[in-house]
């Protein structure tokens, strides 16, 4: 899986492309770990190009969120396509993440938190 990385001031934006599945979720987990290790404390994962997220992907996101919080940082998620939002609903994990409809809203949340 290809993951775009962009710096928006103090906020780092990750844009994964395609499937966050049992094979690729490790790549996303690794990328989030690296960001925390390198001192990044404000991260947004932008889902606009994500086709789907399997249970392995949800585990990677929960672990990434916990790592970021342990380091005193914040993880936000934005731009969930409708099918991906449906998976968050099924997983009942909407309240476990800071989710916003747009990149701008996520960046604003991260800058305030």
């Amino acid at each position: 899986m290809d993951i775009g990385v962009e710096h928006l001031g103090a906020v780092i934006r990750l844009t994964p492309h395609g499937r966050i599945d049992s094979a690729s979720s490790a790549v996303l987990a690794e990328r989030m770990e690296e960001i925390v290790a390198q001192g990044g404390r404000r991260l947004v994962v932008d889902f606009r190009d994500v086709k789907y997220v399997t249970s392995a992907g949800f585990r990677a996101l929960l672990v990434g969120d916990a790592r970021m919080r342990d380091a005193g940082g914040r993880l936000a998620l934005c731009c969930l396509p409708p099918d991906v939002q449906r998976l968050f609903d099924l997983a009942a994990l909407n309240d476990d993440f800071m989710i916003a409809p747009s990149l701008e809203a996520s960046v604003a949340q991260l800058q305030l938190s």
Binding site: R19, D21, S22, A23, S24, K51, Y52, T54, S55, A56, F58, R59, L62, V63, D83, L87, L90, A91, A92, L93, D96
Partner: protein, 151 residues
Amino acid sequence: MSRRLHPPAGSPVIELSMVGRLEQIPYVAERVERFGAAHGLTSRVLHDLQVSLDEVLSNIVKHAYTDAGEHRIRVRVWIVPSQVVAEVVDDGRPFDPMAALHPLRKSARERALAGGLGIRFLRSLVDDLHYERSGRTNRLVMRKALGPQLE
């Protein structure tokens, strides 16, 4: 090998065989997506089918094998007028996803971390699951209604 299900004559069908390793799963998903799209499945049906297949295949790869030998998994998908049917056959240890029980968790977060989320997705995203153990083979058949064909 138990009796095979036969797709009705003339139904579009794709038959795939993968080595039981995680990195093979996206190729199966990709092939199924192209097959489904070529035969008019909606993106929502294809989405749910691919997530379900990933959960089933990754579960087999991670938990079904008790030796280090190479195992193969066979996947067939076919389309009938009202449903898409996906059949997964593996030679791992018996596992019935419909009978899988997970201890009560305090929260959705704990369930997801403990590994109960895949089964939850599977049960929610397909309309019918049928599991059968026959000899040394597991066969899981998933059926999903096609619903309205207009997006």
